[in-house]
Amino acid sequence: MIVKRNELTWFERLYLPALIGGLKVTSRHFLNTLTTKTPVTQQYPEEPTKVLPGYRGAPYLVRDQDGATKCVSCQLCEFVCPPKAIRITPPGPTGKPADRTNAEKMPEEFEINMLRCIFCGLCQEVCPEEAIFLKSDFSLTGLARSEMIYDKEKLLALGGTHPGIQKWKHKLDEAKEQETFPVKV
């Protein structure tokens, strides 16, 4: 396709008016900045940063609407984690029973090393239980390396609640319904 170019008028061909026009814009911004009418620098950390929805901050564990740990210790996040920041201790045969009704297991310990975490979000993506979410925290500090390894309690406290469909409970209810005869379906 050939686009036809418009011929420039003689006024445009003078060149100087366009130059002056451009300088006007530049000097307007310059003066506005000089008189702090339009701020360009954010005074972090005095001024908190507004994080937009969908931002990928630190991964935290969440609880369901009943306040139960959603994680069932399937260890897929531990497997997928590229910097190997996640470390899960499974409950074993003698571990504490799961918080969630009918979920059979939950992690005995769940640790995320925030120094290693790269906030990639693969853990959230891979989680079959919707138990781990990247929240909006991005500036994590601590006085020692050991402080930066967040354990299960801390992760759950930071993560808050995240209601879901409660599939394990739903399954149990469904099973209970089938105990009576005739079976309701």
Partner: protein, 582 residues
């Protein structure tokens, strides 16, 4: 599966008259359009020759047919229907002669439904024998549709338990769903719920919802273990596996059903919720609980052993192992393992020392020991290479040597009455005579009379075998290597921390004379070193003979010098070992 060695077709006798062709024991068939020749008969689960099945033929043609209920070491049940394949046979005319196509090739009649000749009718590959000229279509659209439909039917009531199911990662249902299944479920009704976490026996938990009713566990326990403890109860969708009485599935082979269960229905109580299988490093090793020497795979992660699983070796254990051997791994990670070399100094008691100090100390003591004043007790739990190195030391000092016999109860299947994994290794290297432990009394007597002043003990607590603490106190030098602390290590002048078999490499000779090697799965704790490593140094220091400093070289050298191992090489042992004359 590799093709078993079969007798080749005999060439016709070179006579002038055209002799009738000898009956061939091979059949020509076509698998997925490619012609191959397969043996007419192949070994069944018991090793008896039976007509080759379509599944075996497909395996020979390198086409994996998906299956749940079929297992090469179990009788065929044919109930899962997963191995359905479309096939065709040469069409026969009324004169019982094959009908030919225009180009002279035999016309193939595909199997179809009797009254619906346009609908393909599959046959289960695991139980259908092949016939000459048969064509199998393991990748045809009809076969794919059959697999898809069978999987859909199996998944109707299967729970979406994968996040909490121990089988996830080694589950055939997961694998085949990805390979052959549909992407989405069309099932909208409520799933049938069955009991979960049922206690079948002391080592087995059953999740009935996950069961696909392949009956592998039932056939195993009935036909292999000889304990008809399991069966199917209830009807239709409510079919469940059950033991004849609650918790009574308790024979010594129950955990094999966990291995052969294609789904997560049967799980091991010991391994339940311990570790996800995809993290496990798998190392080829041997079970050391008895003289059978079952081949195993050690599952470990980050220097911790999580489980033993049997590994196929038809010359030793088929694909099975006993529960007692399988669960005998927990001592490896015990906290009280010997981790430091110890050296007793008169006034200061037992001191923790580094390896060079300990070995130098031992070498100095042994250098001044007169001939016949040394005795060696080496456990038949040590590897053959270690026993051989010890026999070199014994030769130098003309020492009395022996092992300790460990006898228990055996059974008909796998468990042997000899509880040492390497009794024959001790015999072949000359550490012990035909009867293990026959020299122990002589050694005790020698210590009592004062003729034996130095005792070297490897891997045994001799206080339990006739050489009590009072006798040990009489010795000038007591050199002990062991894995766990005991009364002998407590009395020792030198303690050398050794390795469990999963922490080193080596060979064992089982009761039938099979020389098998095992590999290293985890690192030894603390300063502990494989015994052959420091024994090699010690032999060099004491006898002046230098040998190979690798396990391969050491084994080859031993095979060269010990007549019982003549002709063997480390590399020739392979994964399943070689049998020697004993």
């Amino acid at each position: 599966m590799s093709a078993p060695a079969t007798t080749e077709a005999k060439p016709a006798a070179p006579t002038a008259a055209p002799a009738p062709p000898p009956p061939s024991d091979k059949i020509k068939i076509k698998v997925d359009g490619r012609e191959i020749e397969v043996p007419k008969m192949m070994p069944d689960w018991q090793g008896k020759p039976q007509p080759t099945t379509m599944l075996q033929a497909c395996q020979l043609a390198a086409h994996e047919v998906p299956h749940y209920c079929y297992h090469p070491k179990l009788p065929i049940a044919g109930n899962c229907r997963m191995c359905l394949v479309e096939f065709g046979t040469p069409q026969m005319g009324p004169d019982r002669k094959p009908v030919l196509n225009e180009d002279g090739t035999p016309k193939i009649a595909k199997s179809v439904l009797p009254y619906e000749p346009t609908t393909p009718r599959g046959a289960i590959a695991c139980a259908t024998p092949i016939s000459p000229g048969m064509e199998i279509y393991p990748n045809s659209p009809a076969t794919k549709q059959m697999r898809e439909a069978v999987l859909e039917s199996l998944l109707i009531n299967h729970p979406l338990d994968c996040p909490i199911c121990d089988q996830a990662g080694e589950c055939k249902l997961q694998e085949y769903s990805v390979q052959h299944g549909q992407a989405e479920s069309r099932f909208v009704e409520a799933k049938v719920h069955k009991p979960k976490a049922v206690d079948l026996g002391p080592r087995i938990v059953l999740d009935d919802e996950r069961c696909v009713l392949c009956t592998r566990c039932i056939r195993f326990t009935k036909d292999i273990a000889g304990d008809d403890a399991l069966g199917i109860v209830n009807r239709g969708s409510y079919n469940t596996i059950a033991a004849w009485a609650e918790g009574k599935f308790d024979n010594n082979y129950t955990l094999n059903t966990v291995d052969i269960c294609p789904v997560g229905a049967l799980t091991s109580k010991d391994f339940r919720f311990q570790m996800r299988v995809w993290f496990m490093k798998e190392t080829k090793s041997l079970c050391t609980s008895c003289g059978t020497g079952c081949n195993i795979v050690v599952g470990s992660r980050e220097e911790k052993v999580y489980r033993y699983e049997p590994r196929q070796n038809d010359a030793v254990n088929s694909t099975w192992m006993c529960d007692s051997g399988r669960l005998n791994y927990k001592w490896i990670g015990r906290a009280d393992r010997l981790q430091k070399c110890g050296m007793r100094i008169a006034e200061r008691g037992m001191l923790e020392v580094a390896w060079p100090t300990a070995l130098k100390g031992i070498s100095a003591k042994l250098a001044s020991a007169p001939s016949s004043s040394v005795a060696i007790v080496a456990s038949a739990r040590q590897t053959t290479e270690e026993l051989w190195l010890l026999s070199k030391l014994a030769k130098k000092f003309n020492a009395l040597t022996d092992s300790v016999a460990r006898n228990g109860e055996g059974d008909k299947l796998l468990v042997n009455a000899d509880k040492n994994p390497n009794s024959n290794g001790a015999r072949l290297t000359g550490i012990s005579g035909p009867q293990l432990g026959a020299n122990l009394a002589k050694i005790a007597e020698g210590i009592r009379s004062g003729s034996i002043r130095t005792l070297i003990v490897f891997g045994e607590d001799v206080t339990k075998h006739g050489i009590g603490a009072d006798l040990l106190a009489k010795l000038d030098t007591l050199i002990v290597s062991d894995i766990l602390p005991n009364a002998t290590t407590a009395a020792a002048h030198f303690v050398l921390p050794g390795c469990a078999h999963v922490e080193k490499r080596g060979t064992f000779v089982n009761v039938k004379g099979r020389v098998q090697k095992f590999m290293k799965a985890v690192e030894a704790p603390g300063d502990a070193r494989p015994e052959w490593e420091f024994l090699h140094e010690l032999v060099h220091n004491v006898t002046g003979q230098n040998g190979f400093s690798t396990i391969e070289g050491l084994f080859n050298q031993m095979a060269h010098e010990v007549p019982g191992f003549a002709g063997l090489e480390w590399a020739k042992l392979g994964d399943t070992g070689v049998t020697v004359q004993i």
